[in-house]
């Protein structure tokens, strides 16, 4: 799910940037350092939408760098346990399949795929029902529930299930099967 939040960060700026364009340099550095990063607490910081405040800088002893506390508004994406997401299948194998919802990767184990679906190997491996009416293969959309999340230094990895009601492949009409 997306959130709009205010975060704070201490920005270190080299003395060569001190001058008329100090604020612009600070904001550019903030965008470079923060956008696209991921942490366990806030999730993926997708984009900075505004600067709330830039407080007075403090010159650090010994190095000459200055530290500026910066408050900024940003859009973050963070998955939660129990959340229902619509993801695109990226890979299918005998252990299950991987899907992507935005920047988050989700793994659905074969234990959490309905029992009436079996793996069909071939050029395009897929999980399908015996009559072939429902097929999970690369690039198809599935609705799944996130049942667990694991946070690394730079990414969030999730485990999902499609074994509950109203979960599974999203057909063209928008209904799940």
């Amino acid at each position: 799910m997306f959130f709009h939040m205010i975060l704070e960060r201490n920005m270190h700026l080299h003395p060569r940037h001190f001058g008329r364009d100090l604020r612009d340099k600070l904001i550019t550095k903030l965008m470079k350092d923060v956008e696209g990063t991921c942490n366990g607490r806030h999730g993926f910081i997708v984009a900075i939408t505004g600067i709330e405040s830039v407080d007075k800088g403090l010159v650090l002893d010994g190095s000459g760098y200055a530290t500026f506390p910066v408050k900024y508004q940003c859009v973050v994406f963070r998955p939660f346990k129990g959340e229902i997401v619509e993801a695109v299948v990226s890979m299918v194998n005998k252990m299950g399949f991987f899907a992507e919802a935005g920047p988050v990767q989700i793994f659905i184990s074969n234990h959490l795929i309905p029992d009436d679906m079996e793996l069909q190997l071939g050029d395009m491996p897929n999980y399908s029902t015996s009559d072939g009416s429902v097929k999970i293969q690369k690039d198809c959309e599935v609705r799944l529930k996130i049942i667990g999340t694991r946070v690394d230094a730079t990414e969030i990895f999730c485990i999902g299930t499609i074994k509950d009601d109203f979960l599974g492949v999203i057909s063209d009409s928008g209904q799940t099967s």
């Binding site: 799910m1 709009h4 205010i6 939408t49 994406f77 939660f80 229902i84 935005g102 509950d164």
Partner: protein, 207 residues
């Protein structure tokens, strides 16, 4: 460029306090038998249930207890966004980036593109205010902003689907069933209208 973060914080804080004050269980409740019963504010659902059994007389309406997730996010000054709202914000940023693309220092990260394409998968990604207006009436029945965002993101077609996928709404099923059915119907009409418009534009472009 900034979203109405302040307004959102106000709403979330206001919503929390409104829920507290709407329930009369913050102060002490005098039972008909003359026994004073003190209700704890912000207690868990289990605790509130136990206190209801203790109190004699009529049960006072329970305040909506925010989930641990909502409590933490409210503390962190965050606002839940529907996917269509996020799509509008990110789309605006992308359009600005086209103008700023001459500066090599400014680049959009990979997660931006994947986040934007995920948010834009909705057919009503350009009508976030309309979607918000359709779902806003549910708030007076105790549906939180987080639940409203989940309902909007689901693109569900039936009330049963919503209750199955958002278990926290089950507790309010009787109250919100009819308003939710009406809201889902309006969302479906909006989606169909926008799909029709998109098809018309495509056929117009083809000609």
């Amino acid at each position: 460029m900034s979203e109405t973060g302040g307004q959102g914080f106000g709403n979330s804080k206001g919503g929390k306090s409104a829920h507290k004050s709407s329930g009369k269980d913050n102060g002490s409740a005098k039972s008909k038998g003359g026994r004073k019963v003190q209700f704890e504010s912000g207690g868990s659902g289990g605790k509130a249930g136990k206190e209801d059994k203790i109190a004699n007389g009529s049960r006072s309406p329970q305040a909506k207890v925010p989930s641990p997730l909502e409590r933490r996010l409210e503390q962190e000054n965050s606002e839940f966004l529907m996917d269509c709202e996020a799509a509008e914000i990110l789309q605006g940023i992308q359009e600005q980036m086209v103008m700023l693309s001459e500066d090599p220092n400014i680049k959009l990260p990979v997660s931006f593109d994947s986040g934007l394409s995920y948010a834009k998968r909705d057919s009503y990604c350009s009508k976030s205010q309309t979607v918000r207006k359709i779902l806003q009436p549910l708030q007076k029945y105790g549906v939180s902003n987080a639940e409203i965002c989940q309902i909007a993101n689901l693109r569900a077609e039936s009330v049963e689907e919503v209750f199955a996928l958002i278990p926290s709404l089950k507790a309010k099923e009787k109250k919100i069933k009819e308003p939710l059915r009406i809201a889902l119907g309006e969302l479906t009409n909006l989606r169909d209208a926008l799909d029709e418009l998109a098809r018309f534009k495509e056929s117009g472009a083809a000609v």
